[in-house]
């Protein structure tokens, strides 16, 4: 077999390129966070309804006036559910489990929320709409989820919600489920002690 001396080669250029690839992939992971949110908001994937629901009032100003055109030709059943996440000693339920609405019609409903602990606690509700295709057509005019809510010890409150299902919603949508998850917004450590208190 013919043999030769190896030619010395400088590896550093290739190594630098590969390290750039690694750094790029690491940054890509962080870039995915905003990209993912933008994608979800634009498409309504994942039941995200809109930005700014946690930033109080913003949504109210931007909300469109109630559409003059009400599509009385069809009814969509809206189902309401709510979950209180672990660490928040609250109870919540919708006053009505479901209602039938015409697209374009302004509707109101309330959730009954009660603080079972013996101290005041602040929580934040996060909405989710299923199916995802309907999420961008589900317009909340007013919602307790726009702001943080504080309940005094043992206090119960009816928290209102006003919404319109836009007439543009696809004709294949017959049911929409609106679900809320109520989170404690106190620090995690306090959350744990709240759980202990609730027991």
């Amino acid at each position: 077999m013919e043999q030769v001396q190896p030619t010395p080669r400088n590896h550093s250029r290739l190594v630098v390129k590969l390290l750039l690839l690694v750094a790029g992939a690491f940054l890509f992971a962080f870039a995915l966070v905003p990209l993912y949110n933008v994608l979800c908001e634009v498409t309504g994937f994942n039941g995200k309804t809109s930005a700014g629901f946690a930033s109080g009032g913003l949504k109210t100003e931007l909300a469109p006036a109630p559409a003059s055109r009400v599509d009385t030709g069809r009814l969509i059943r809206i189902e309401f559910t709510g979950t209180v996440m672990p660490g928040l000693p609250w109870e919540m339920r919708p006053l009505k489990v479901s209602m039938d609405v015409h697209p374009g019609e302004l509707q109101q409903i309330s959730y009954l929320v009660r603080n079972t602990a013996n101290r005041a606690i602040t929580g934040q509700a996060v909405p989710s709409v299923t199916p995802g295709q309907a999420a961008q057509h589900f317009e909340k005019i007013e919602c307790f989820c726009f702001d943080q809510q504080t309940l005094a010890a043992g206090e119960a409150q009816e928290m209102p919600l006003a919404f319109i299902v836009s007439p543009e919603v696809g004709r294949d949508i017959t049911h929409i489920t609106l679900s809320y998850a109520f989170f404690s917004i106190e620090g995690q450590r306090q959350t744990l002690s709240a759980t202990a208190e609730a027991r």
Binding site: M1, E2, Q3, V4, Q5, P6, T7, P8, R9, N10, H11, L14, V15, L18, L19, L21, V22, A23, G24, A25, F26, L27, F28, A29, F30, L32, V33, Y36, N37, C40, T43, G44, F45, N46, G47, A54, M85, Q124, V126, T130, P131, G132, Q133, A181, F183, S184, I185, G187, Q188
Partner: protein, 533 residues
């Protein structure tokens, strides 16, 4: 004259006798030494991970809780997976690359020997970090190891105990080690091939590893990013995955599986690369469809980056996304079928003999075929709703990663062991090891397909009575499977200690540069490079 070392870009004449004893292994930059260390570490961790899962199977032998509390059970399954993937399978593949790549492509050593040394020595501390919470819990410190399963799903992992932090840091270190290894492999393959060895003349093992290395560089940093976010969510008040703060737990699943799916191919591509060598050797025929296999590797590598969401079809993804991920996942079966065809065509009408490596290779093809076919079932969105998170999935990925990954590694170990040690292993013990492994493997995992179809969920320490028989069979199989691996370790040990002298060309039909060298090869090989015509 020391051209090899200047070619390596470092001046240290890493010769034997430079240091002796433990210091030699601590400081070595020789690819053969480092390969040996990787493989030894991998074998040890294989038994550590195996012991964990035998405890799990013992608990699952009958319904009810007998041996352990659910919390401990959860720790065992998650750490078992992390140990097997990151500390057993990946180091085994890197060990192969270290030992064999320079021999096969006619290079004097790996391109970056010091990085290579670092890459290895990061592993033992990482393995220690991963398993230490078990021992700390014995002394009342913390509440044990990671108990979220290996996937770290948020929000569970945000709430978990300090075992999660240990695992996050261990994954960081293991990831850095793998990235170092991958950079080394790519630079070695691109810059150090023997003159005349074009990329399309390169051994398929090198091709498989090249794709693996690129996949690692593209995806491991994403995992590192995801677990970093998890760490800051846990301790520094960020809200990446906390819905209360505007984060999204599903985002974690996207990030995790963006790494997690290519990881499957990262584990399998080196094995797919080595299979054609073994099949060609024992069929005494050239490899069938070299180009087709190279292109299949590349296509699979690219496709693996865009199919991740099939791991969480049931998380509530929109229908268009479900359909995209279903079809793209199924598309992977096409290049994979090309590989299967090439493997079988290589054996077709060959003068076949069935030494232990060939037995493992043929066993690999059959059992890995089952993994592929059951994977197609899971890729079906409609069917997956039933099978998701059931024992069907457990059985499927063990057919892929034990029969595909670990039996593939064993194929390589038996195939190259005489080259590494200069001695023949015991063929009798090897064959016994194969038959015990393949029978008990099926005894363990075949019943789990039926358990999954019947609705038994994975990751539970207790189960309904109707699952009792299949679970008992599975546990018996697992015990035989686990303990017959001791034969493997014994066979390797005795082969290192002595035995019949191995020829340079160990196997009659073996082709390739590695067989031109003596067995064992000299400490420094190919310092004068061969010229490929």
């Amino acid at each position: 004259m020391n051209t090899a070392t200047t070619a390596n870009g470092h001046a240290d004449p890493h010769g034997e006798g430079h240091y002796s004893g433990p210091l030699r292994w601590l400081t070595t930059t020789n690819h053969k030494d480092i390969g040996t260390m990787y493989l030894t570490f991998s074998l040890i961790m294989f038994f550590v991970g195996g012991a964990m899962i035998l405890a799990v199977r013992a608990e699952l032998f009958s319904p009810g809780l007998q041996l352990m509390q659910p919390e401990f059970f959860n720790q065992l399954i998650g750490v078992h997976a992390l140990v097997m993937i990151f500390a057993a399978l990946m180091p085994a593949a890197t060990g192969f690359a270290n030992w064999m790549l320079p021999l096969m492509i006619g290079a004097p050593d790996m391109a970056l020997p010091r990085l290579n040394n670092w890459g290895f020595w990061l592993l033992p501390p990482a393995a220690l970090l991963l398993t230490m919470p078990f021992f700390l819990a014995l002394f009342g410190i913390g509440d044990g190891a990671l108990a979220t399963g290996w996937t770290f799903y948020a929000p569970l992992s945000v709430q978990g105990g300090m075992g999660v932090d240990f695992a996050i840091l261990a994954v960081h270190i293991l990831g850095i080690s793998s990235i170092m290894g991958s950079i080394n492999v790519i630079v070695t393959i691109f810059n150090m091939r023997a003159p005349g060895m074009t990329l399309m003349k390169m051994p398929l093992f090198a091709w498989g590893w090249l794709i693996t290395a690129f996949l690692l560089l593209a995806t491991l940093p994403v995992l590192a990013g995801a677990v970093t976010m998890l760490l800051t969510d846990r301790h520094f008040g960020t809200q990446f995955f906390d819905a209360a703060g505007g984060g999204d737990p599903i985002l974690f699943q996207h990030l995790f599986w963006f790494f997690g799916h290519p990881e499957v191919y990262i584990l399998l591509l080196p094995v797919w690369g080595l299979m054609p060598h073994v099949l060609a050797t024992f069929s005494r025929k050239p490899t069938y469809g070299y180009k087709a296999q190279v292109y299949s590797f590349i296509v699979i590598g690219v496709l693996s980056l865009v199919v991740w969401a099939h791991h969480f079809f049931t998380a509530g993804l929109p229908v268009p996304a479900l359909i995209y991920f279903m079809f793209s996942t199924m598309a992977i079966s096409i290049p994979l079928a090309v590989l299967f065809f090439c493997w079988i065509a290589t054996m077709w009408k060959g003068a076949m003999t069935f030494e232990t490596p060939m037995l493992f290779a043929v066993g690999f093809i059959v059992l890995f075929g089952i993994a592929g076919l059951t994977g197609l079932i899971l890729a079906d969105v409609a069917a997956d709703a039933q099978y998701h998170h059931s024992y069907f999935v457990v059985a499927h990925f063990h057919y892929a990663l034990f029969a595909g990954g670990i039996m593939g590694v064993m194929t390589g170990v038996y195939y190259w062991l005489p080259k590494w040690t200069g001695h023949m292993y015991s063929e009798k013990l090897g064959k016994l090891h194969f038959w015990l492994t393949v029978v008990s493997f099926n005894l363990t995992f075949m019943p789990q397909f039926f358990l999954g179809l019947a609705g038994m969920p994975r990751r539970i320490p207790d189960y309904a009575l109707q699952f009792a028989e299949f679970n008992a069979i599975s546990t018996v199989g697992a015990m035989i499977l686990g303990f017959s691996q001791l034969l493997f370790a014994w066979n390797i040990w005795s082969c290192i200690r002595g035995g019949e002298k191995a020829e340079p060309r160990v196997w009659e039909g073996a082709e390739g540069l590695e067989w031109e060298l003596s067995s064992p090869p000299p400490h420094h090989s190919w310092e004068i490079q061969p010229v490929i015509k």
